[in-house]
């Protein structure tokens, strides 16, 4: 079937969300099977945010993430077999087997680094925005972080700096209402993260984080303004993490509310929602159904690549503590 530009873009958005979902489900299985040992934080249920924001970016725009960043890596164009090999701790991994799930990188794609210190890459993204400004380049820097990170001081410091210097930075808060086991309501009196933007002097926009098209359109607008020199923006994308903080478990023991919250949020599945929307817009069911087997094939090929890749050599321990001199 011939599809128009908008429909093709929607289809590619759906493909990347499906990729993130199925990769993470597969990683979850491999964690349960004991084949993957590194802590893996799954973003199942939150895929629309990584996919939607990254759909608004060019390759030279930089993305900075956290501990739950498989989705950011994949949506920004990171190589799937290299990510899988990384999670397996293999030398062919995107971080050469030194990072595991929590330290992903794909510099050629502008995915500069994801690290688990909560919100630690937020000021780094500000620095990338600063570099764009000083070099008069149009590139935007995007910091992805969770609602927990907004309780860190560096979040507020970074918003202020970016606003003060009018830097091309998008602060993307994936508010999944949990910081590990702690619900938002136990951590702050008000559900008002987005208001931090106003205090810093930048626009703050609350988006339905399970609506991939709304996220993409909101991000597209914010990116255009940042490129035009209008400065940073905070996007609060409201969503829900289906699985527990780390690993494939559902964390139902966290409390009664977890069950009822899942009952509320799972029907809002961002993938089903986008799929319905695309079908309404004329894409064929057969066409969309064909995505899943193709994606599963890619994932199994990545798992095979990871399994067959060598582990690091002992001598690798001492490499790269320092970079070679580059004047």
């Amino acid at each position: 079937m011939q599809v128009g530009g908008a429909a093709a873009a929607g289809r590619s958005l759906l493909r990347i969300m499906l990729l993130i979902r199925l990769v993470e489900e597969r990683i979850g299985e491999l964690v349960s099977a004991g084949e993957i040992k590194t802590p893996c934080h799954l973003s199942i249920g939150q895929e629309a945010i990584a996919a939607g924001v990254c759909a608004a970016l060019s390759r030279q725009d930089t993305v900075w993430g956290g501990h739950r960043s498989h989705g950011h890596y994949l949506a920004k164009g990171g190589d799937l077999p290299e990510m899988m090999a990384e999670v397996f701790g293999r030398v062919t991994g995107c971080s050469k087997g030194r990072g595991g799930s929590m330290h992903l990188v794909a510099p050629a794609q502008g995915l500069y680094g994801t690290v688990p210190l909560v919100g630690a890459t937020i000021p780094l993204a500000v620095g990338a925005g600063l570099a764009s400004k000083l070099r008069h380049e149009p590139h935007v820097a995007v910091a992805f972080f969770g609602d927990g990170a907004t309780e860190e001081g560096h979040f507020h410091e970074s918003l202020n700096l970016a606003a003060l210097y009018r830097l091309p930075v998008l602060f993307v808060c994936e508010n999944n209402f949990y910081s590990t086991h702690m619900p938002l309501s136990a951590r702050r009196l008000k559900d008002n993260i987005v208001q931090a933007a106003d205090a810093a002097g930048m626009p703050g926009i609350r988006l339905d984080g399970n609506d991939a098209l709304a996220v993409r359109d909101g991000a597209t607008q914010a990116v255009a303004q940042a490129r035009a020199g209008a400065g940073p923006c905070l996007l609060e994308c409201r969503t829900y993490r289906w699985r527990g903080h780390v690993g494939p478990a559902w964390d139902l023991e966290v409390g009664e509310r977890r069950r009822s919250e899942l009952d509320e949020w799972m029907p809002k599945d961002p993938i089903l929602r986008l799929r319905r929307r695309l079908i309404e817009e004329g894409l064929s069911v057969e066409d969309l159904d064909a995505l899943e087997p193709a994606v599963r094939g890619e994932i199994e090929a990545a798992v095979t690549f990871a399994r067959e890749s060598p582990l690091p050599d002992d001598s690798d321990l001492f490499r790269h503590v320092y970079a070679p001199r580059r004047t």
């Binding site: 780094l124 620095g127 990338a128 570099a131 000083l134 560096h154 410091e157 202020n160 700096l161 580059r326």
Partner: protein
């Protein structure tokens, strides 16, 4: 040769780096104000513009993190902390981020940032304006730590730090700002990791850092008048420190005094003493003596400051002790 003060030498290094490398910028709290930086950054904003030389809000963490992020994408930032104590608010970006990124991403990312801080002792400033925390940062793999003691090294080490390609902590000492010395024109480097013999001698090796290297020069003169001939090493780089130079000197003298104006416990002097004792114990003719600050916070009262800080006379006494 031109005579410059230590502060002028630091300023000239900044100016020449800004002039010759468009990737260099200078940020941090107080860069527009001599009250913070002495003459070490004087009018750089007027000369190079406030876009490349910019004063910052009191946000040590985000400012340092931003410098690190800019370095990761190819800039060569120098981020300034007017008091080392305040830099502790930036320990996450320095220790967790800058130090780790090359390693944890398998060498695909590097962090060519210079984190400059002033050790700002004395003047009844007390515990939170006076700390010399070089050992804290020297402990961390992935960081380099330099501490110039002369105007020549102040300029050459800053140039080397910016060009190194790794996170380098550049720690200068307010008590050295008015000291004078030869400073050549142009961009020259003092190699990181290389100490220097300030005075050759046969009896005792004195290894000193930063301000204590200047004090050690005075101590060596006093000792020479008493017929005691010391070999004085200015370490210049704390991490990685120059093992070859220290070992060859101790191999010759058999006696070692280490002077570092920071706390004794867990300090750089402890690291040097342990390395010498572990690697060339056979060369030692006497126990190693450390001249360091006592393990108490910096006091405020001038009377207590007198008792707290160490200087040339302590080095003299320690050298005499290892010769007993």
């Amino acid at each position: 040769m031109r005579q410059f003060t230590y502060a002028q030498a630091i300023r000239e290094a900044h100016a020449e780096l800004l002039r010759h490398d468009p990737r260099v910028f200078v940020c941090g709290q107080g860069v527009w104000n001599p009250w913070y930086a002495g003459k070490s950054l004087l009018d750089l904003d007027k000369e190079f513009g406030r876009e490349r030389v910019f004063d910052c809000p009191v946000s040590e963490n985000a400012t340092t993190g931003a410098a690190i992020g800019a370095a990761i994408v190819g800039m060569r930032p120098i981020v300034f902390h007017a008091r080392m104590d305040f830099m502790l608010l930036a320990v996450d970006p320095i220790v967790n981020q800058a130090a780790n990124w090359s390693y944890l991403f398998g060498g695909q990312v590097s962090v060519p940032v210079v984190i400059r801080s002033v050790i700002n002792r004395g003047g009844e400033q007390g515990a939170q304006h006076s700390q010399a925390l070089q050992a804290l940062f020297a402990h961390v793999p992935g960081l380099k730590v330099v501490m110039p003691a002369t105007p020549y090294d102040a300029k050459g080490l800053l140039v080397a730090a910016v060009r190194d390609g790794n996170p380098v902590l550049y720690l200068d000492d307010r008590w050295l700002y008015d000291s004078e010395g030869d400073v050549p024109e142009g961009l020259y480097e003092v190699p990181i990791g290389s100490g220097v013999i300030r005075r050759s001698g046969k009896k005792v090796t004195v290894v000193a850092t930063s301000y204590m290297a200047a004090e050690a020069v005075k101590a060596a003169e006093t000792l020479a008048q008493r017929g005691i001939d010391v070999e004085l090493i200015d370490l210049r780089t704390i991490k990685p420190w120059d093992r070859d130079l220290v070992y060859s000197s101790v191999g010759k003298t058999g006696r070692l005094v280490i002077a570092d104006a920071a706390w004794m416990s867990g300090g750089i002097a402890a690291d040097i003493a342990a390395a010498v004792a572990g690697d060339i114990f056979h060369a030692l003719k006497a126990p190693i003596v450390r001249v360091c600050l006592p393990d108490v916070p910096a006091p405020t009262s001038a009377v207590l400051e007198q008792a707290y800080y160490v200087g040339a006379k302590d080095i003299v006494a320690s050298v005499e002790k290892v010769l007993l």
